[in-house]
Symmetry: D2
Subunit: 393 residues, 4 copies
């Protein structure tokens, strides 16, 4: 199904905003730093507006621009569809792409509802039987420090998990005059901080511990209900339009508790109202033999406490995760020459290309995405019912 040279894979991308730019940089960069068994080719980007999509293709470096994502599905030179749209379009595009035999990379959250996500999982599992693969973009798994954290847990270095505390703190819209965005519109985005950023920390907690949540309770809150309309929609933030206002229909913040399948306690928070915290994805895991701590604002660092050490010299180790011995290490720069946000997207491409070439299921799968969706859904139901406990299957 791949096209062009036998070791190439044509990619078509839908959407070209923030996520589209990040994905484009990854498709372009991966083969420059890694030996890929399957080399992606940036064939076409799809969008609604002809001139806008043409400009995007030029700016982001795609060979072609097409209006309407369906055209990607009939192209011979496209073997993979990369879905970077708002969440309300994920299910339709991903299912159609899989059914037409294209691999799919889909941004998170997988869908705006559990029902949609279930449909997508069904499509993905049917496609897998035909060798067509689907992956969801919980990209932070590929930050080297997070990948190292997962390795250390797998190796038993922190023992049995007792505690997870996971926070995703931003101040993106803490200013009540920050303008409206599709991310604040339930129709488009499904949910607010919970689905947009809370999804990441739920996935990270489950991924790093290798466990799943067995139940949750939580609270949601919208602090600012009315915002200025955006005069322009460019960028993540836009510019406020003086005259008109729009109604925010999603949560601004979410706090929730959970229990892990291994018996540990978990505490989560996702907010866009934490002044001064820019993109603070914090994960701390305490086990019976040690602890791990991470903060994305220092994304090249992992902190590791090894309780088996002698007490006099034990302490959290500040690991600069840039050594050749580290995940994805040795392909970039010498130690201490840190990576940035976009590199995790490149790692995602690298792993995906490896899995497709080997005929393996890439991770996180749509089923992993569905599991996150179920957690988010349970938090919403808990919050709607006043904060009570909601068990997960």
């Amino acid at each position: 199904m791949s096209t062009g040279k036998s070791n190439e894979l044509g990619v078509g991308m839908v959407g070209y905003a923030f996520m589209g730019a990040a994905h484009s940089q990854a498709w372009r960069t991966a083969p420059r730093f890694f030996d890929l068994p399957l080399v992606p080719r940036m064939r076409a980007v799809a969008g609604r507006d002809a001139s806008a999509v043409r400009a995007a293709a030029e700016r982001l470096g795609w060979d072609d621009a097409v209006v309407g994502w369906r055209d990607l599905l009939t192209r011979d030179d496209v073997g993979l569809v990369d879905v970077c749209t708002p969440g309300d379009a994920h299910a339709e595009i991903a299912v159609a792409a899989l059914e037409s035999g294209k691999h799919v990379m889909c941004e998170k959250p997988l869908a705006n509802s559990v029902a949609e996500a279930e449909t997508m999982v069904a499509a993905a599992e049917a496609a897998a039987a035909r060798g067509v693969r689907a992956m969801v973009g919980f990209t932070y798994r590929r930050v080297p420090a997070i990948a190292l954290a997962r390795q250390l847990v797998e190796q038993g270095r922190i023992g049995q998990v007792r505690h997870v505390r996971a926070q995703y703190l931003q101040d993106w819209i803490a200013d009540p005059q920050a303008p409206m965005s599709w991310r604040l519109d339930k129709q488009k985005a499904g949910s607010g901080a919970l689905g947009d950023i809370g999804a990441h920390v739920v996935d990270l907690a489950q991924y790093v511990t290798g466990e799943s949540l067995t139940g949750v309770s939580g609270l949601l809150e919208t602090f600012v209900h009315e915002r200025p309309e955006a005069a322009s929609s460019s960028g993540l933030s836009g510019v406020a339009d003086a005259g008109r206002t729009a109604r925010v229909t999603v949560d601004d913040a979410a706090v929730f508790l959970g229990r892990l399948s291994g018996g540990g306690l978990a505490s989560f928070e996702a907010t866009r109202f934490a002044w001064g915290r820019k993109n603070a994805i914090r994960l701390e895991v305490n086990g019976s033999k040690g602890s791990l701590a991470f903060d994305f604002e220092d994304m090249n660092l992992l902190h590791f406490f090894d309780a088996t050490e002698e007490a006099a010299t034990a302490g959290f180790r500040r690991i600069v995760v840039t050594e050749p011995e580290h995940p994805y290490g040795g392909h970039w720069w010498p130690p201490g020459h840190g990576l940035g946000y976009e590199h995790a997207f490149t790692h995602q491409v690298v792993d995906l290309m490896g899995d497709l070439a080997a005929g393996r299921q890439p991770t996180p799968s749509f089923r992993d995405g569905l599991e996150v969706q179920r957690v988010l859904d349970a938090v919403e139901r808990s919050a709607a019912a006043g904060g009570g406990w909601v068990p997960l299957p």
Copy 2:
């Protein structure tokens, strides 16, 4: 009622373990660094075992040692009783002392149950009418950085409170071979991590924000149910006795959510199982105009983000809270010469002496202590019922 010179106040202390040592240092030190309108005199310490209490009096610097706390109540040279026993004795001693006309300083948590705490509040309020005062020892309020945080909130520097995240993380008994202690015995301690250390962060959250919790939901967990008996009871930790084991009857860890009276969301955690975290009392408050962050492991620092600043130079300010302009500043050392754990106890004595001399109600009052007790009780009820929401009056 004070004794000796008119500006002196005789103090009698009950209990002489960890808290007794901290209080003794404070009674001794306060008049050396602060001009006190009422000067404490360390008259007598009371305990059960005659030779042990005599040794404690000598070591901690008390004039006299008495067997049984009741003797303190009849001494003319004692005007204030300082209760440093395990929680199960707080109510009886404090009520009797107040009724006999002695001021009372009582360690936290106020009591082992809401009912006891209510009795104590009734006694305190009756005594107050006679000019006899009661105070509960939520000492961390007097860490300068915390006191500064409270000032900044009061001054409106962070605006309306949106979020509180408060954690008290220790690894005291993360090792399953750490021996049994009275702090792990429900009879003595009332509760475990929740009451011992969770109480502090509940008080800090309410104190710094100036708000109260209107409801909570939470989970408790005991990770290690059976521990070696302590061969000796000296110190906080003791030494394990090889042969015998004892049953832990309290929680090892607690996580809970709450809503603040002003509409904000709060998230709490208290655990003795966070390997590598020694005494990490972390408080972060995000408001509509700024944020504050504190970690007791760096107790001389307060971090403050002022959202009214221009974006290019805004950032969390690392305030070294040792300037003459800071709470309790200028009485100790030059800037940057940090204070330690015990200094907050000295500040507590300073403030108490000032309040008693002025005929003011010291804070936190027994009623403040009762409020914390009610929160802890609600968390326990939530946990017992599987994690559902429990409103607070």
Copy 3:
């Protein structure tokens, strides 16, 4: 002189190791995130070994591979030569390229000696008269936090400079078994830690303060004189060859003092023997009105102390330099989504393209590079003479 479309500039690169990879990523990435008035095209890479250079062209994304850098000078489709070789070849290539009418971007240090650097400056200034431009790659100037530091100094936010302390700490060869490299060979590299990494902190100190050094004194040291030969030369580190050893002919570490033209004191250190410090470029500047601090191991942060603030809330501000208001901000990702090492190279391309399009002299110029070279030379002379003071012109 530029080729192809009128707003395009063909680039030819010499050398394709560590620096070549970083530059290639920058040439490729700059037009994707910035609107460039002049768009670079990656025409050809030059090297000595035909098959190696062909593989590099393929891997790094250059249209063509040529053997010998002189061929770049006669190509019509090359308007700029990017010199990424070891220092011993800089002068010859750069001068020849400038004389043949090609713009030059030259890696630092400008040359292996002051004499060579002077020749290069003469060539650059002669070329400038003909509109042909030369720039030296002190890339760290384009780390956003450093660029912000420069802005704040220029705006007078820290007042008159009193102190600079600048360190470049690595542990690259702290292990005596780390193999030989051209960077440890005086013939190739000119000097060791002093010229390779010390050059960066000298440039940063002068750039951020806007002042120059008026004299220095210093010490050099080689801790490990004999090392295993590298069995392979790939990567920065290589792999040790068991049998043979080679003699290290450069310094492993340098410490030096200096005076700034404005009267301040400066302290410098460059070492490859600081275990645990991976790429710790630390710059702290104290002025009469405030201070700045930076550490490349947290490259997205700048710390700023404003002494004009009220004492109670003054503190170093931890500025996350990722806002649209920050240098190079708004072109990449939302706030808090940090950049990495390679982004400064992209910014270098962006600024260079802007300067070339506008007919402006890019900075740092070869003369700036010569000034750094003179400082390094003075440090070497001081060290050779036992550490005495060496004035600078």
Copy 4:
């Protein structure tokens, strides 16, 4: 010679300002937390002004107040004289006290000149032959994190020392309107930042490494030559007197380089002009097998990098130096309950009492103090000669 009970030692203190308050707290506190073989008794404090010294005795808790330090030397109840005056009086008092058979604790720097220090060493060594002991107060050696650093070096945990970088940064007088003080008067203080705070980092560097400096080169600078007179002399800072000014006759800042006896390189800085740095005593040592780092602004932490660990999990360990296994640990509070500035003075008393009881020479000795003095003197000579190298014997 000790007085009162056989296991008691009467102490007389000269001077009662900043250092007097710190020493008083230590004399008072040491026996409360440590089992001392010799228990200090605070017999008398001496000063020039009768009413001031009486008030000081009352405030600081001394039994008696005497006018003129000579009276202490004839008292039977005084066995040790504690010298807390400005440096110009150290030699006279210490020598006289030793000759009269009193042990001496003398604040640092030992003296205002090498000649005075040599006289003091001669007196101390003569006295030692008679069992009378002298010690100089480089108190920071007794900060637990520093003591742990020394232990780790002694145990070979960092191997051979390659680098020391030591800084003492304050902003005490960065404001040009900060008033005059005896510390800025060469007559009283001998030198400025160099002798007052630089002395500490020289001692720490030599103490922690166990090596001595074999030569130095350095620069001194006075940034503000004229200051307002202090209207009152209370406290470290005083209050400016509007009308009169006084001339600063000492250095405001010093930077210097040195070589260690083991071949390592050292870099030092001492300044009172580093805005935002309150009491930043920073020491970093890099050895052939690991590294250590300390900053007094986080005085309960030591950072340790162990290069013998596997690369994937190596990192600076943030050791919270409050465990029972740590120096002076277990006598104070549970882990994580940090100590403050004054505790090192208490440890100094503890060690001194142990040494006196055992008939051992306490450390640092006057000879250690002389060695520091010689380094400071060499720095001054280097600076006076324009920054050249000055070898040390």
